[in-house]
């Protein structure tokens, strides 16, 4: 990021300090309960991972700028402003060991939304040049190439072609007037391209009019994760432009947590205006179809299944009941984990953490919290709705010698669709 200076960073801190932030900092009584709600602390027992401690540079700035005693202290030189060294120290706390999962915000007894503040604090971290390498690279690629992982249109087109062959249906692209514009995360395009076929099959059966876009297919938003609102806004704007151009009624956010947060909740505030279309998470849409009786499935999974709530979709996003309704449609042995729904535990990889190589070790330690949940209920398989969670869960399970598969909810629904009488599949 060009032009990063400490001064710009501190200015960014000042700018994000609003009434809620000040109310939060005023109210913190150092009770330490946020530590016990954060999986990075619970699995390492290192106090530096206490959520409120991650905010210390921001808190200091608030105190020095916006309180009587703080201003006097700063003027008298009794309190020094935040330094570059401090921000260097805080980089691993604010990025490597925080997925913006939101559990601390649910637990703080005085009601502090620490996650909100950490997300905002990243603006200052990035502006002062203290964002991690992996995220900087991803963000640059997102801006210049259109995907944080460098996925270009020809690659997506190849995946689309492959999918069309496999399922014997055409995937609509750039269809003006379609009801839904579906976006995809690069993680899905690269690691779980079956998702494309799954939604195509479901939409065909349910009679949903939809399309992809060749101009704006990327759902994820690195700007949010690194904390540069201008870039986050630019990435959202690309989708908005296409959605308006194709005159769709709604944009679908795929199986990716932060993509949903970005487009559904932060988007309009980033670009400074409300949308002229709706935004739905794929799970919301599927559940609506289920309620309308448009999803016809047969057979049920008999294996013992549990559902991992992606943090940005459930606790921070509000989509909690829908996946359960959908899962119960195709599973006869569904069990909840202890601490579930909006109190479920993070997988440990969101918020940019999985893009930071040096965070690999602490990320795997954090996974032990999930392992403890799985140990408690002994499922045969896990279901989730976020490609990043899936990879993290798979990696964590593998490292802990737990051989249970991780399934996508959407793909599982697609697998259980009642087979339509198909026209002959592609001939050779």
């Amino acid at each position: 990021m060009s032009g990063a200076t400490l001064g710009r960073g501190i200015n960014a801190f000042k700018e994000v300090i609003d009434a809620p932030t000040a109310a939060f900092f005023n109210s913190c009584v150092h009770c330490g309960m946020c530590a016990e709600s954060c999986l990075f602390f619970t699995e390492t027992r290192d106090p530096k991972y206490t959520p409120v401690h991650k905010l210390e540079p921001l808190r200091k700035t608030w105190w020095q700028e916006y309180t009587f005693l703080g201003r006097i202290s700063k003027a008298l030189g009794l309190s020094k402003p935040v330094t570059d060294e401090e921000l260097t120290q805080w980089e691993t706390l604010v990025y490597d060991s925080c997925t913006l999962c939101g559990r601390c915000s649910m637990v703080c007894p005085v009601g502090n939304d620490l996650t909100y503040m950490i997300r905002n604090m990243r603006e200052g971290m990035a502006a002062s040049g203290h964002a991690p390498e992996g995220l900087i690279g991803a963000t640059k690629r997102a801006v210049t190439i259109g995907s944080p992982m460098g996925v270009k249109l020809p690659a997506l087109q190849a995946q689309i072609r492959h999918t069309e062959e496999e399922i014997g249906m055409t995937i609509p692209v750039d269809v003006e007037g379609a009801d839904y514009l579906c976006t995809l995360s690069s993680m899905e395009i690269m690691n779980f391209p079956e998702f494309i076929g799954a939604i195509a099959k479901i939409f065909k059966q349910a009679g949903v009019s939809w399309t992809l876009s060749s101009e704006a297919f990327e759902a994820t938003n690195s700007g949010i994760q690194i904390g540069v609102s201008e870039i986050a806004a630019e990435l959202v704007e690309r989708i908005v432009t296409v959605a308006e151009k194709l005159k769709v009624k709604a944009v679908i956010s795929p199986e990716c947590g932060h993509a949903y947060m970005a487009i559904r909740w932060e988007g309009p505030n980033l670009i400074g205006r409300p949308y002229s279309f709706k935004v739905v998470h794929i799970l919301e849409l599927l559940d609506d179809l289920r309620k309308q009786g448009r999803l016809k499935t047969s057979g049920k999974e008999t294996q013992r299944l549990t559902y991992h709530d992606p943090c940005q979709i459930a606790r921070r996003g509000g989509v909690v009941e829908q996946p359960r309704n959908l899962l119960k449609m195709v599973a006869e042995n569904f069990v909840e984990m202890p601490d579930t729904g909006t109190m479920n535990w993070c997988c440990g990889a969101g918020g940019g953490v999985s893009a930071i190589e040096r965070a690999d070790e602490v990320k795997m330690k954090a996974f032990k919290r999930k392992k403890a949940q799985f140990d408690a209920i002994q499922p045969d398989a896990l279901v989730s709705a976020c490609a990043n969670c899936r990879i993290q869960l798979e990696e964590g399970l593998e490292e802990n010698y737990m051989d249970i598969p991780v399934l996508s909810l959407t793909e599982t629904i697609a697998e259980h669709l009642v087979a339509e009488p198909q026209s002959e599949a592609r001939q050779t």
Binding site: G137, A138, P154, E357, E394, Y401, P405
Partner: protein, 149 residues
């Protein structure tokens, strides 16, 4: 028997096999082994091809295949390398082939076939060739030979 000329027939034939022979039909993986650098996959393919493989051997093979898939997947936010992704899809195919009964909803052989084709697609993303289409034809041939054996 009729030659397999399309995916509907292909899938029907695969689903007609009983479970152990389905795994054996995962010779599809062997056909794309050269797209994958990970030597674990070669060993997994051999276990998959053995209809008398014990439960223990399958479990070990499954663990290897999963580990190979994890090691080769595209990291979130990292620059994409579709050639390496080909290896990831081969590992996915191998994982499907040695998964326990009932775990792969689409059926292990069908899943292995699809992932193998995806490996070719991946490899060819930088080039305009329709290698995935060729892979599909190769798979029809492999299955026919297997069924006739």
């Amino acid at each position: 028997m009729t030659a397999i000329t399309n995916d509907t027939e292909f899938r029907r034939q695969l689903e007609g096999l009983d479970y152990a022979r389905q795994r054996a039909a995962a010779r599809f993986i062997e056909h794309v082994l050269d797209l994958c650098d990970d030597e674990r996959i070669g060993r997994v393919a051999k276990v998959a091809a053995n209809p008398n493989a014990s439960a223990d051997e399958l479990a070990t093979a499954l663990h290897s295949a999963r580990a190979a898939a994890i090691d080769s997947h595209a990291r979130c936010g990292a620059d994409s390398d579709w050639k390496e992704q080909a290896g990831y899809f081969v590992a996915r195919a191998a994982t499907a082939a040695v998964s326990p009964e009932g775990q792969v909803a689409a059926g292990p052989a069908w899943q292995a076939a699809m992932s193998s084709r995806m490996a070719q697609t991946s490899m060819a993303i930088e080039t305009p060739e329709d290698t995935a289409g060729q892979e599909r034809l190769a798979q029809y041939r492999i299955l026919s030979e297997f069924l006739n054996a």
